[in-house]
Symmetry: C2
Subunit: 283 residues, 2 copies
C-alpha cells in the first residue's frame, strides 16, 4: 500500500486515489466500509449478478428502464474480471459487501463471493448517483443529506417499471430537495449524466407519484427539507434490486447498499469513455 493511496487512515475514513488501490484494499481485507466519497472523481456502480438463464431478461429490463438501470458494464458468463471498467477487477472479492438472495431465505450479507461463485453467473454493473452528487457538490449546490451525514431518502412509487420476463416491480426514487434555483441547476447537471440516472423523473408534489408521507421514506434516512425547498425525485438503483428480489432466481447477488464497485473510470468522462468502449466493441 502506497502512502498516497490513503489520505486519512482513521478507521474506515480512507480516501483512495485510484480505483485499483481501493479494490485491492477491499480484496485484502483492509477496507470494508461504504464507498460514498471514498474515491472522489471515479465512477462507482451498483452490482447485480444473475444466472445466465435470466441474463437476457434482466438486460432487457435494463434497456426498457434506462433511468433506474443505466448499464455501465456486463461480464461474460462466469467471468470475474471487467476489463472495460478497471484494471485487475475480481468481482468476487473487490466489492466491500454483498447481498445474496435465495428463494425463501432472508438476504445474506457476505464479504466475498468465493464460496458461491458459479460458471453461469453474469455480472451487471449499473450506474449510481454518486458521481451526480459529486457534480452537485462541485457546483456548490447544497445536498441536504450529505451535509447532514445521512443516507439519501428513497421511496417506492406508484409508477410501474416496464417488465421484462421475470423482472418487474415499482420504480423506486431517491429524493433531494433544493431551493427552486438550485433545483433547476440540479436538473440540468443530472441530465448530463445519464449513466448516473440522468434527469429526474418528478418534481414537486410527492402524492402524484404515490408517496404519502415524504418524511417517511421506505429506505434510507428521513429527509431534511428547508421551508422553501422543492423536492426533486430521481430514479434509483434500488429499483433493479427490488426486481431481482422478486425474480425467483435460485441465486441472485447484489452489492450491499452503499458498498459499490469502484471503477477506474473518471466520472466526468464516463459517458464518452463507455460509449467509446461500446463503439470499439462493435467495430
Amino acid at each position: 500500500m502506497l502512502a498516497q493511496d490513503i489520505h486519512s487512515q482513521s478507521g474506515q475514513e480512507k480516501v483512495f486515489d485510484t480505483g485499483l488501490a481501493l479494490r485491492q484494499a477491499v480484496r485484502e481485507g483492509r477496507f470494508s466500509g461504504d464507498t460514498a466519497g471514498k474515491a472522489p472523481g471515479l465512477l462507482q456502480g451498483n452490482l447485480a449478478i444473475l444466472p445466465k438463464a435470466l441474463a437476457h431478461d434482466f438486460l432487457l429490463f435494463c434497456q426498457r428502464n434506462p433511468k433506474p438501470c443505466p448499464i455501465i458494464g456486463i461480464g461474460e458468463a462466469g467471468e470475474v474480471s471487467l476489463p472495460d471498467l478497471g484494471q485487475d477487477i475480481d468481482i468476487r472479492t473487490d466489492v466491500p459487501a454483498y447481498r445474496i438472495f435465495r428463494p425463501g431465505q432472508a438476504p445474506e450479507r457476505v464479504d466475498d463471493l468465493n464460496s458461491v461463485w458459479r460458471d453461469d453467473l453474469v455480472t451487471f454493473v449499473l450506474g449510481c448517483s454518486f458521481s451526480f452528487e459529486e457534480a452537485l457538490v462541485a457546483a456548490e449546490i447544497p445536498v441536504r443529506h450529505i451535509d447532514a451525514g445521512r443516507n439519501v431518502p428513497m421511496y417506492v412509487t406508484s409508477i410501474e417499471t416496464r417488465p421484462a420476463g421475470a423482472f418487474s416491480g415499482p420504480l423506486v426514487v431517491s429524493m433531494r430537495s433544493f431551493s427552486p434555483a438550485d433545483a433547476i441547476q440540479a436538473i440540468l447537471l443530472s441530465s448530463r449524466q445519464p449513466l448516473a440516472h440522468g434527469a429526474p423523473v418528478h418534481i414537486g408534489d410527492p402524492a402524484q407519484i404515490g408517496i404519502r408521507d415524504i418524511m417517511s421514506p421506505d429506505f434510507g434516512d428521513q429527509p431534511i427539507m428547508n421551508d422553501r425547498d422543492i423536492p426533486v425525485f430521481w430514479a434509483c438503483g434500488v429499483t433493479p434490486q427490488m426486481a431481482i428480489r422478486n425474480c425467483d432466481a435460485d441465486l441472485a447477488i447484489t452489492h450491499d447498499p452503499g458498498h459499490m464497485l469502484v471503477t477506474d473510470i473518471p466520472a466526468e468522462t464516463a459517458e464518452s469513455r463507455l460509449w467509446g468502449i461500446a463503439q470499439n466493441n462493435n467495430n
Copy 2:
C-alpha cells in the same frame, strides 16, 4: 411575391418560408401582424434602439442580465442594416410595429421609423422565447397558452436586475405551467437555447419571487393551469423594455409586443451561428 412565400393568404394568417420574404412583406405594407408562428424555424428577436450616448450602459445592462437580455445582434450607430442577422434588413421598416418612448409622453405605436431615425441611434436585437416555444411544440409538450390561442402570462417579480448606468428595474418573467414530467423536459430543452432566455429562473411557489396572484399577470393573458401543473418561470424580454422606459432617453424605440424582427437564422443553429459570427469578428 413568390407563391411559396405564403402558405396561407387569409388576412394576417400568413406563414413565410424565409425571413427575407416576411421582412419584405412588412416593408411593402403587405403584412403588419404579430410574428408568432409566422416564420417557423427562424430566430426572432426583441428590438431596442437607443441613442449612442446610452448604448454602452445598455450593453452593460444586457451583459449583466443575460437571461432576460440575450444579445443576438448590435448595429453600428446610425446603421439600419444588420447583415449578421439577415439579408437586406432595414431596421426602420422591417418590423411590423414599433413603440416610441419620449420623456413625459405616452408610448406611441408606429409602423415605421422613417420619420424618427437619427444617425446616433444604435440597434440592439435580443433573443425572445419563440424559438424555445417551437422546440417545446416540436417535442409534443403541451404549451397551454399556445393551445388556447392566448398570450403568455408575464409578471413583474421582486427580483431586481443588476443595474448599469441609467438602466435598472425589476426582472419580469413569463410563466408556462406543465405536468411535472413535462416541466423537467421544458427545463432541459430551454437550457439548450441561452439566446431564447435559457433555463428558467424559478419553479414552483410564485410567492417566492413576489408574485401574489398567479391568475392576475401584469402583462399578457390569464394563465390556464391544470390541476397537477407546476408553474415554471423564465426571464422575459419585457425586462429590458421596462428598463428602457425608465432610462430617460430623449428617444428610445422598441418593437411593439409580439411584433418581432424575424431573422434569416435557423433557430436550431442560432447558438453556433451567432457564436461563429462573434468569433469571426474577433479575428
